[in-house]
């Protein structure tokens, strides 16, 4: 064992007072006024704003969301028809009109995306479809958040046999082809009302999409639960549920937020797919998927009936994915390798 003094390493021995004085608490009274540091969230926000693609995504998502929420109401106020309004009179004069075209072929602002096969305004329907699609996406994600985060955190923190059983259940559910599960669920409990069908859709999508979330949160909790602050919390008498929900789950929020933003487009896509197949949203309620399904029937003659809902959906999904990627980079800068 080398115990001789090595002159090369002498500079490593810091005994001088200069680095000690640098600590703010050596002279508490001289520490001066308190400067507020940047919080983690503000830091992440700044990093997000530097990512152009993510900012574009954020803007598109906000615009689409606001337009979907107020659009149908605004159209009702301006033009006086709802998304499911079918004009009376000569059906052939009002159906499948090209964009910006009135019944007599003249230019008009009334139908910027034309009309559909029954004469309903396509623009209003796309906006209302956005409402449904975003609603399904966000609500199902919230359901999956609620189940997945709780499930994963409980399994990870309690560990042992319970963890084993809980995660094997997840493995079993994972191995089922979930689209088929959803289709079976939806066709078995087929609801008579469109609203009932929508609720069924939430349940079906939410109940299969929490699995990955549970795994992510469990992994996070496993690495967190051995940290000293958890021991410290236990040593101060904090109860187990409180440790899980107050101390551990907030610490997993970064990856959870990222995964949630990436789950929304995934669920929207599944919803569109199901509606396209006719299992999802039923007319007169529209979603982007059901609009695309209607449009595909006339794609050769009236291509705008497919193009408008399709492009709107693709744009929104792209934006959500860019936003999710941006959030991941912003919240976890160490993960960014390039």
């Amino acid at each position: 064992m080398a115990t001789e003094k090595n002159p090369d390493h002498e500079d490593l021995v810091h005994i001088g007072p200069e680095n000690a004085v640098a600590e703010a608490d050596v002279h508490p009274d001289e520490a001066g006024t308190f400067v507020r540091g940047t919080s983690l969230w503000r830091d992440a926000w700044r990093r997000l704003l530097k990512n152009k693609l993510a900012v574009v995504g954020l803007v598109v998502v906000i615009v689409v969301t606001i337009a979907s929420i107020i659009g149908p109401t605004a159209i009702k106020a301006i033009f006086g028809f709802t998304p499911d309004f079918i004009p009376t009179g000569d059906v052939n004069a009002t159906r499948s009109l090209p964009p910006f075209t009135g019944p007599n072929g003249q230019f008009t602002w009334t139908h910027p995306m034309g009309t559909d096969n029954a004469g309903r305004d396509q623009f209003a329907r796309v906006l209302q479809g956005g409402q449904i699609s975003l609603f399904v996406g966000i609500l199902s994600t919230l359901v999956s958040l609620l189940i997945g985060v709780t499930y994963g955190a409980v399994a990870g923190y309690l560990g042992g046999r319970l963890d084993n059983v809980m995660m094997r259940i997840v493995d079993v559910l994972y191995s089922l082809p979930y689209v088929i599960v959803v289709i079976v669920l939806l066709s078995m409990f087929r609801s008579q009302t469109p609203r009932g069908q929508l609720i069924l859709l939430f349940i079906a999508l939410g109940s299969v999409s929490w699995l990955t979330m549970a795994r992510i949160v469990r992994g996070q909790v496993l690495s967190l639960k051995n940290q000293e602050f958890v021991l410290a919390a236990r040593a101060t008498g904090v109860s187990t549920p409180r440790i899980i929900f107050r101390h551990l789950i907030p610490n997993t929020l970064g990856p959870v937020i990222v995964y949630a933003t990436l789950t929304i487009p995934q669920i929207m896509l599944t919803e569109a797919f199901l509606s396209f197949l006719g299992f999802g949203v039923q007319a007169p309620i529209a979603s982007w998927g059901s609009l695309a399904a209607d449009g595909i029937q006339n794609i050769a003659i009236f291509p705008w009936q497919l193009v408008f809902p399709g492009v709107t959906m693709a744009l929104t999904l792209f934006s959500l994915n860019f936003l999710g990627d941006g959030l991941r980079d912003a919240l976890d800068p160490q993960m960014r390798t390039v």
Partner: protein, 335 residues
Amino acid sequence: MSSDGNLLEVKNLRTYFETDDGLVKAVDGISFQLKRGETLGIVGESGSGKSVTNLSIIRLIPEPPGKIAGGEVIFNGTDLLLLPNDAIRKIRGRRIAMIFQDPMTSLNPYMKISRQLMEMTELHLGHTKAQARTHAIRMLETVGIPDAQARADSYPHEFSGGMRQRVMIAMALSCEPELLIADEPTTALDVTIQAQILELIKKLKRETGTSVILITHDLGVVAGMTDHVIVMYAGKIFEQARTNELFARPGNPYTKGLLRSVPDPTDEQGKLYQIPGLPPDVAHLKPGCPFAPRCDRVQDVCKREFPPFVQLNADHYSLCHFAQEVYSESGGTPA
């Protein structure tokens, strides 16, 4: 309350860990007492069972693989090892508080300092939010955080290591516990901050009359802070004495070795003494004295038989076949 003034009495405590490598007897038959208002130091190398002893006292041993295999921990007349989980949780933090080694990781990074302090008194003293906040700020002032009112709403990463350890102390003392367990509270701090933190613990102990168990591997800290010292090795108590007695007249070759290993700042040149070898693997202890392979006065009997726990005088004990001789050599007169 126990009659003889003992706040804490640990009797034959044994904590084992079930590992792939076999049964690890991390703590094997530890007994000691702590009187009200006194400070007990526990020293020993890494892995000697210091921290496990104290985690066992408040039952924070991870189970499995850990298990408290036997013994009693009598705190104020009740055996903590027999209490139901709810009852022990009311004692943790309220009556027995802990400070941990690394202030960098023992605060929740996502919670404001104020929230973490408030959690304690809301939980144990039934404070309302407003009361808890006032109390938290007063505690921060007590431990010397300047501008506590403004800083209370900071996050832990905005504090330096020394300040975080102060926050930990504020948290530990906010319910005025009867016993404070400080598990290497200054190991992660630099020397000047270390002195301040120890001074702070000393001052608060004087003001509140709290008993303290101080775990450390720094003999200098023990000398300045404690009334009694326990020297641990391989899960056993090797020597137990009043602090000044232990430093003046050690009765165990291991303690002597530890004392010799303390670097002397006036001695510029020359080699630093170290006890040869490494601490033993407690999963595979051979019969005989666990220190025998490293001991400079090892005899045949040491390798064969486990040493006796010899009483050297009123409150000085040593685990060694030759305790009396070692004690005489250091200038003590065995009783």
